[in-house]
């Protein structure tokens, strides 16, 4: 039998605190998964020497949840399913540890099992009332009659099916902010000041292996309310020059910025940074991408027929217009 190393935390009275509780659990434990809104499961395997016994960990977690404003209940069991059922049947603020999952589930009604209502009705017609009675059925017969989904529920009823905790990555807020003593009234000056912030964001993205897909810039102004600017960065990048260019163009689209006293730049949406194939014999391929980005901007500003690339079609052509071809850089 597996050791009871799965901790389930269930909060019923504070559905708004899901994000905050998840951040709290991520800060406290290494592997945290989400079962439902305000229902979390944590794999405590291997943490005993570092963090203490599972019950102690659970109490610490409950204390943290309480500080966050949520009254949570904790269940510790060998498998995530049993741990959740235990937590749901434990009063808020308390911890309950169950060693034998099958024995714990046996007297409970069939409703606790995650199966379809029709299957529930069919099981009742067969005279089954508790999880224990269902668990006593032969495994092969259940599979033959009801199929794989109910066979999985049958394994859960026996306390056998040990789903692994699918840990989600902790949400990281990539954000940088600055406040300036002297208000900035010039756009150029503001762009220059934003470089420091963009460099910080770029460093944070590089550390996490992300590329920014969306930027949110908030400018605090002396003479008006905050100005919020959203930019989508395509293709996603973490290059400081590209991020700054995107912000610069956004600022240039506004005629009046006012007196800016501070800024907060956040990356609300990221993508895993992908490598970029640069042609072996193409000199300075990275610069070419920057140039194409500028061409795209100018194409948007100037319209068609303004940003072009020339080709010599026939140098010996009699008519000059046949000698060369002009193609749009951005189709």
């Amino acid at each position: 039998m597996r050791d009871p190393v799965t901790l389930a935390i269930v909060v019923t009275d504070a559905p708004d605190l899901h994000g905050r509780l998840l951040a709290t659990l991520h800060a406290a434990l290494p592997r945290v998964g989400v079962l439902d809104p305000c229902a979390f499961v944590c794999d405590l395997a291997g943490t005993e020497e570092l963090l203490g016994a599972p019950t102690r960990i659970a109490r610490n977690v409950l204390a943290r949840c309480a500080r966050a404003g949520a009254r949570a209940s904790a269940g510790i069991a060998p498998t995530p399913f049993v741990a959740r059922v235990v937590a749901e049947r434990t009063p808020p603020g308390e911890v309950r540890l169950v060693d034998d999952g099958r024995a714990f589930l046996a007297p409970l009604p069939l409703d606790v099992l995650p199966v379809d209502v029709k299957v529930h009705d069919e099981l009742r017609l067969l005279g089954l009332r508790t999880v224990g009675e269902f668990a006593d059925l032969p495994r092969g017969s259940v599979f033959d009659r009801f199929g794989s989904a109910v066979a999985r529920a049958h394994a859960l009823a026996r306390g056998e099916y040990g789903d692994m905790v699918r840990a989600s990555a902790p949400p990281r807020r990539i954000r940088a902010r600055r406040a300036w003593d002297d208000a900035i009234g010039s756009r150029e000056q503001l762009v220059f000041a934003l470089r420091v912030v963009v460099d910080e964001i770029s460093g944070a993205l590089a550390r996490d292996g992300f590329a920014a897909l969306r930027l949110e810039l908030r400018l605090d102004r002396e003479d008006a309310g905050p100005l919020r600017i959203e930019r989508t960065v395509l293709p996603p990048t973490r290059e400081a020059a590209a991020l700054l260019r995107s912000l610069r163009w956004a600022l240039e689209e506004r005629s009046e910025l006012g007196l800016v006293t501070g800024c907060a730049l956040e990356v609300p949406e990221v993508e895993p940074a992908r490598g970029r194939q640069i042609g072996l014999f193409a000199p300075d391929g990275a610069r070419a991408e920057e140039a194409i980005a500028t061409a795209r901007y100018l194409r948007a500003k100037l319209g068609t027929g303004a940003v072009l690339r020339a080709r010599v079609a026939d140098e010996a052509a009699r008519l000059p217009e046949r000698a060369t071809e002009w193609v749009e850089v951005i189709a």
């Binding site: 406040a179 000041a193 610069r287 991408e289 920057e290 140039a291 980005a293 500028t294 940003v307 072009l308």
Partner: protein, 237 residues
């Protein structure tokens, strides 16, 4: 706290001394080989080693004297050093065949046909991009439908700190903008068998004695470098 103080100090210096009074270390400490676009001709001796990233320069002279020939040569040099070039062309007069003959890689040259207020916008956007080594603005000659050098004045603030050099080609200097200017003067016509087959021209600062001398021969269609001469001011025609 230290970063806040630094940002505040930067903002104050910028407010008092101008937008580009400070340059980032990565910009100011770029290796000189990255900054200088050497044309490998006697023009380099006259303009101080080559075109320099983050600095503007103007070629001024009468039509058909050789300004664009040298501008194309500079473009080819910039591309040879591994970069792209932007050619701002308000008069739509860019000649791809001449460019190809001057060894310009047309695949790595973006031609922008921008006029009026868009001229400064396109110039500034190209200078602010990290993608170009050289930005050439051929404003043309006013007698032939060209614009005024002064039209690019709003973009000049973007030059400093830019990874690209700015080369302005024009018929006459501007009145409002102060750009280091190199004058092109025709020195002599080259004649063979009683026919004009080319001309030579000199490039130099207005009041400097050293001039770079070039010869354009229509027979070969090439630009010959005749070296630097100190006494050309007296023989110019």
């Amino acid at each position: 706290m230290a970063e806040n103080a630094l940002a505040g100090a930067i903002a104050r210096i910028e407010g008092r001394f101008g937008v580009h009074a400070l340059a980032r270390g990565s910009t100011s400490e770029r290796h000189r080989s990255e900054l200088v676009i050497a044309t490998k001709s006697s023009l380099d001796d006259v303009i101080g080693g080559g075109l320099i990233a983050g600095e503007p320069i103007a070629f001024i002279g009468p039509p058909s004297v050789g300004k664009l020939q040298l501008a194309l040569r500079a473009t080819a040099s910039a591309q040879a050093q591994g970069g792209m070039a932007a050619w701002i062309d308000p008069t739509s007069s860019f000649d791809p065949i001449a460019a190809q003959r001057a060894s310009v890689d047309l695949e790595r040259l973006i031609v922008v046909r921008a006029r009026g207020t868009h001229l400064a916008l396109a110039t500034a956007a190209a200078l602010r991009s990290e993608g170009f080594r050289l930005v050439v603005v051929d404003v043309g000659d006013r007698a032939f439908g060209g614009t005024n050098v002064d039209d690019i004045a709003p973009a000049l603030s973007a030059v400093r700190g830019s990874p690209a050099a700015l080369l302005v080609v024009a018929g006459e200097p501007g009145r409002r903008v102060a750009i280091p200017t190199f004058l092109f003067e025709r020195v002599a016509w080259e004649r063979r068998f009683d026919r004009t087959v080319g001309w030579s021209f000199a490039v130099g600062r207005a009041h400097a004695s050293d001039r770079a001398l070039f010869c354009v021969t229509s027979l070969e269609g090439t630009l010959a470098d005749l070296g630097t001469r100190p006494d050309l001011a007296q023989v110019a025609v």
